[in-house]
Amino acid sequence: MSGLTLDGVTFRYPATERPALREVSLEVAAGEVVALVGAAGAGASTLLLVAADLAPRVVGGTLTGRVQRPGRAGLVLPTPWTQVSGMAFTVWDEVAFGPANLGWPREEIVRHVEPALAQLGIAHLAPRDPATLSGGELQRVVIAGIVAMDPTLLLLDEPAAELDPEGARLVWRLVRALAARGKAVVVATSDLDAVPDVADRVVWLAEGRVAAAGPPAVLAEEATCAAGLGTAVAGVWRAAGLPPPYPLTVADAVRAWR
């Protein structure tokens, strides 16, 4: 079953000449994790807005092509401070904000909020005032708020940007766990070293187009490394003048070295 289908999508923001997305086609299956990589301005965040049905519906602009998402989509943006509702006394209430907006009965809200808090490792923060949290803690609260809404399609825009290394590892584990439960996940990230462990597929966007797509090994190819989008290991291998194929991970490098 498909979690998201984009077919020849071109999107232009209001009052701009150049399209932010050009003829993008992408299919994400349920249970699959797709990583979007690219330089700043390549169109990854825009693609997530289109996938979340926020562009052009909320941000304006014009869209051509076909977008299909069979279920509800949940989007996590990179800045945690702008995503909190500002209407909650406690972290628990903040995570319950989305489910409450969907009109779920209170018992169902509790059934979704408690596991979401546990999955993000923030159950101990439940009684705290969101205004007193650090950026990293707040980002986890925001992700928990989206997870609690039980979306079929999860869209994450730089979810680890505000997190410490342990927090980032926890979020990446959660992404895999959600995919294992049948969620389709699209994540725009510059944490390229995490991609081989997290993503099933990588889509490289350049100037709004799909420049390459394939398994995570794409991040060890000459073209992606030359564009600064290879993993650290592949980049070091290449910079050292060692011959291709470049290793994707440390384990690959060790195997190749031996």
Partner: protein, 222 residues
């Protein structure tokens, strides 16, 4: 006071300015201004003298203009009414947590979206104040002092206002996207997580305030 039903706080904040304009000046305005400033002095308003001081400082420029434009009696009459309005608004912003207001409005059948817009106007004041403080600190780090003479202060004000407005506009965009994805406009009737209690005594107080305003109006028109 924060435990009172949000509608009771709003009723008080609405009735005092209404009475200030209905009752004869200057005695009416004096009584309502005293009542509003008295409410602002309550510790539950969020800091006692801090709230009352904010109300007085906000009202001060109005007094200055009134004294320039009118004779003393007119300035006193209008000034007391304006002070009542300002103190009531400052007090209700400090004493009424927006989250409780949203819960109360949703419990009364308002759509979550409309309730949020209404409550966000109250929530905007402390958020903007906190951001302004951060911008001032950042400008200080870059050598711009907000203290000193008038010209210096005006220059500092410009350096504060522009980033404050631009960052607020940018945040509005992102917040709209975040709220949308969190179902605020889902069309479903929002589940009230903790609707505030509305005891009969408070309902009676609200009706009493409405009746008082109506009676004062009838008395004045008669």
């Amino acid at each position: 006071m924060r435990r009172r039903h949000p509608f009771t706080l709003l009723a008080l904040a609405g009735a005092l300015p209404a009475l200030a304009w209905i009752l004869p000046a200057p005695a009416g305005g004096m009584a309502t201004a005293a009542a509003a400033l008295g409410l602002a002095l309550l510790p539950a308003a969020g800091g006692g003298a801090t709230v009352a001081r904010a109300a007085v400082l906000t009202a001060a420029p109005f007094w200055a203009f009134l004294l320039l434009l009118h004779d003393a009696a007119t300035a006193l009459a209008i000034g007391l009414r304006l002070t009542t309005m300002v103190a009531s608004v400052v007090w209700v912003v400090a004493a009424l947590p927006p989250a409780r207001l949203v819960e109360a409005l949703v419990a009364r059948g308002w759509s979550a979206r409309a309730a949020y817009v209404f409550a966000a106007t109250l929530a905007a004041v402390p958020v903007l104040r906190a951001r302004a403080r951060r911008i001032v600190e950042a400008q200080r780090c870059r050598g711009l002092s907000p203290r000193g003479g008038l010209v210096r202060r005006l220059r500092a004000l410009r350096a504060l206002a522009l980033p404050l407005v631009l960052s607020a506009l940018h945040e509005v965009d992102e917040r709209a996207l975040a709220l949308e994805t969190r179902g605020l406009a889902s069309g479903a009737r929002r589940t009230a997580l903790a609707p505030p209690a509305d005891p009969p005594a408070e309902r009676a107080l609200r009706w009493g305030l409405a009746a008082l305003c109506a009676a004062a109006l009838v008395w004045r028109l008669a």
